[in-house]
C-alpha cells in the first residue's frame, strides 16, 4: 500500500437522533464548555466544599485570634486592668495596697485605649485587608494548591483523563479548560476570602467597640486596592500553576500537591540560608546577593507589597513591579509550557 500525503477530509455531517442536542463546536465554545464541566464537578465534589469550609473557617479563626483579645479587653472593667490587690497575692511587688485613685483608673483606661488602638489597626478597615492577604499567603495557599493538584492529578490518578480525551476536545482545549477553571477558582476563592475576612473583622471590631471609618476611600485608593487584590490572585494562581505542572508531569495528585508545597517551603528555606550566610566576595557573593530577587515567592510578594505601600503606608519592596512581573511571567511560562507539551505529546496508557 502506498503512503498517501496527509489530507484533511470532510465527510458528510452526522445526523443524530433528535434527542441529542449538540452545542457550538467552535474552539472557544468548546473550551468554555469544558471550563463549565470543571466548575460543575467542583460544585458536586464534597472535597471542594470541605476545602471551602476550611478556608472560610481559617480566615475567621485568623481574625478571631486578633479580635478575641480585643473583645476581652474592651469588655473588661477598668479596675481589672490595675495591678492586683496586695492582700490577694503573695508578693508585694507590682500590687496595689490601697483603693485605686481616679488618676490610676484614668491611666488604666488610657492604657486600655492604647492597646485597643493597636488591635484597631488590625481589625478595622483598611488594616484588616492586609490581614486577609497575609492569611491567604500563609494558610489559604495550601488549600488552593490542594485543589489545583487534585483537579489535574486526579484525572490521571482515577483514569478519567481517558474519558475526557476520547470525547472530542483536543488535548490543548482540555489543558486550557483546566487552567481556566483554576483561574476562576483563584478569583472566586480569593474574592470569597476577602469578603469573609473583611466581614469577620467588621463584626469583631463592633464587638470590641472599635469604630470603623471609610474616610480612607478615594478613587486612587480603590484602584490600588483592586491591583492589590489582583496581585493576591496572581500569588495563588502562580502556585496553582506549579501544582498543575507537577500534577501533569507526575500524573498524580500527590505530585502536584506535595511538589508545590515542597517548592514553597524549600524556596523560603533557601532564602533564610542565604540571608544567614557570611558575606561572600567575588562572583559567589554577587550571585547570592541577587538570587533572592529571582525567587518566585519574593516577586509575587513584591507585587502585593508595592501596592500595600500605597494602601497601608508600608515600606515598598526592593523589587519594582516590572521586574516582579517579568520574573512571575517567566515562572508561569516555566510551569505551563512543559505541562502543555507533556499533555499534547504523551501516550495515555493506564
Amino acid at each position: 500500500m502506498t503512503a498517501q500525503p496527509p489530507a484533511r477530509t470532510n465527510p458528510p455531517a452526522l445526523i443524530r437522533r433528535d434527542t441529542v442536542v449538540m452545542g457550538r463546536a467552535d474552539y472557544l465554545s468548546t473550551v468554555l464548555r469544558l471550563i463549565g464541566v470543571e466548575l460543575y464537578k467542583f460544585r458536586r465534589r464534597p472535597m471542594s466544599k470541605v476545602l471551602l469550609l476550611i478556608g472560610i473557617l481559617s480566615m475567621i479563626i485568623s481574625f478571631a485570634f486578633k479580635g478575641g483579645p480585643a473583645i476581652f479587653l474592651a469588655h473588661t472593667p477598668t479596675r481589672n486592668l490595675l495591678p492586683p490587690d496586695c492582700s490577694s497575692v503573695e508578693t508585694t511587688i507590682d500590687c496595689l495596697n490601697h483603693e485605686p485613685t481616679r488618676e490610676e483608673l484614668n491611666l488604666a483606661e488610657a492604657e486600655r485605649q492604647h492597646r485597643l488602638q493597636e488591635y484597631a489597626s488590625l481589625l478595622s478597615l483598611p488594616g484588616s485587608i492586609e490581614g486577609v492577604t497575609q492569611t491567604i499567603q500563609l494558610v489559604e495557599l495550601i488549600l488552593f494548591i490542594i485543589l489545583a493538584g487534585t483537579i489535574v492529578g486526579g484525572e490521571y490518578s482515577v483514569g478519567t483523563v481517558r474519558l475526557m480525551l476520547t470525547r472530542g476536545p483536543t488535548r490543548t482545549q482540555f489543558f486550557l479548560a483546566k487552567v481556566g477553571a483554576i483561574l476562576i477558582y483563584a478569583i472566586v476563592g480569593v474574592g470569597i476570602l476577602f469578603v469573609v475576612g473583611i466581614l469577620s473583622s467588621v463584626v469583631l471590631s463592633m464587638l470590641a467597640n472599635i469604630p470603623q471609618s471609610l474616610a480612607f476611600l478615594s478613587g486612587p485608593w480603590l484602584f490600588n486596592c483592586f491591583l492589590y487584590i489582583l496581585a493576591t490572585i496572581l500569588y495563588t494562581f502562580t502556585y496553582c500553576m506549579l501544582a498543575l505542572c507537577l500534577g501533569t508531569l507526575g500524573r498524580a495528585t500527590t505530585a502536584g500537591v506535595a511538589g508545590a508545597l515542597v517548592w514553597w517551603v524549600v524556596e523560603s528555606a533557601i532564602q533564610s540560608i542565604i540571608l544567614n550566610l557570611p558575606n561572600f566576595h567575588g562572583i559567589i557573593g554577587a550571585v547570592l546577593e541577587v538570587l533572592p530577587g529571582y525567587f518566585m515567592a519574593n516577586n509575587l510578594a513584591a507585587l502585593i507589597q508595592n501596592r500595600s505601600s500605597y494602601l497601608f503606608g508600608n515600606q515598598p519592596s526592593p523589587f519594582p513591579d516590572l521586574h516582579a512581573l517579568l520574573v512571575v511571567a517567566f515562572y508561569l511560562a516555566l510551569f505551563l509550557l512543559p505541562a502543555w507539551w507533556a499533555i499534547r505529546r504523551r501516550d495515555i496508557t493506564n
Partner: protein, 354 residues
Amino acid sequence: MSSLYDRDVIIRTDRLTKAFGKLVAVNDLHLQVMRGDVFGFLGPNGSGKTTTIRMLLGLIRPTAGRAILFGMDTALQLSDILQRVGAIIETPVFYPYLSALDNLRVTAAASGMMSGKSNDRRLAEVLDIVDLSAYQKLPLRKYSLGMKQRLGIAAALLHDPELVLLDEPTNGLDPAGMVEIRRLIQRLAALGKTIFLSSHILNEVQQVCNRVAILRKGNLIMQGNVNELLQGNEEIELRLNTAEECQQALQLLEKARQEDLNWISYVQQVPEKDTMLILKAPASHSSAINAYLARHQLFAAELQPRIGSLEDLYLELTTPTAGTGHTGMEALASGPIKRVVPSKKSGEGKKEEV
C-alpha cells in the same frame, strides 16, 4: 492528493505500528472495518488489542503507519473523528464522587453536547437502554463493576455515534448481564451502527459479529468474514478399519489433495490413533471423500464432518502447538491456508494465499 473518504469504510489502518521501547505492541497492522459491521477483535492478553483501540481513539500516538476513521486521519482530525465515536476502553472510568446522571452530564458536555438540561431526555434514554434509570442518582462509588460497565456503554452511546468501540464490554458482568449486552449490540447493529468489539468471549463474538480479526503478539494473523473463516476451519474425521488401510488412505488422499481434491487443505493422522485421519476440508464434501475412497477399494468405518467454531479457530491460531512452540498458524504456514481479507465495497471478503 486523493481523498481518504469512502462511505463504506469506517476504519482503515495502514501499517499501524506501536513500539514501547524495544517492545513492539502492534506491528504493521492493516485492518478494515466496513459500515454496519459488527467487527470482533480477538487476541490473547498482551496481543495489542487495547493498544490498537487506544491508537484508533488518539490516546496513543502510532510509532509508524496511520489510522483512518470515516476517511479522516487520527493524526490530523482526531476531534472530528471522536465526535462520531463512542467508546469503552477496558474498565470504564468515571468520577467516583458524582452520580451516574452527573457523570453522564459531564460526559455529554465533553462530547460537545449542550450543557444544562437540554439533553436530559437523551440522558434518560441511554440510562433506560442500559437499565440504570433506577440508580441514576446513586454515587458511582456505590456501583458494582457490572453497573459501571453498563454506564460505560450508556456514555459511549450518549452522542449517538456512528461507530461504537467496545473493549471487553462484558467484563465483570454476570451471565444475564452478558446476554443483555449481546442483545444491546445486536440492537445497535440493527440501527445501522458499526460496532468494533474486542472480547475474550469467543462464543459471544461468534454470535454477534459478522467479521473478525485475530491478533497475536501485535501481528494480525487473520481477518475476515466469520462464516467464511469457520467454513475454512471445517474438518472431516475419517476412521478406517485397520491401521494398514489408514496408511493407504493417508497416502491416497495426500496425493488426491495435490491433484483432483484440491479443496482438501491438509490430511494428517490423529496422533496415537492409528486408524483415524483428520482432513481439513469443507464438511459438505464428506460424501465426495467417501466415494473417492470407495473407488479405490477403501471403505470408511466412520466419516464425521465437524463444523468449526471460532473458539477452535482462535485456539488453533493463537495457542503454541505442543512441542514446537509455534501456533497452529505458524505450523501451517508452510502449507496452503486461506487468509480472508475484506473486499472494498461488500465487506464479504476475498481469499488470498499466504
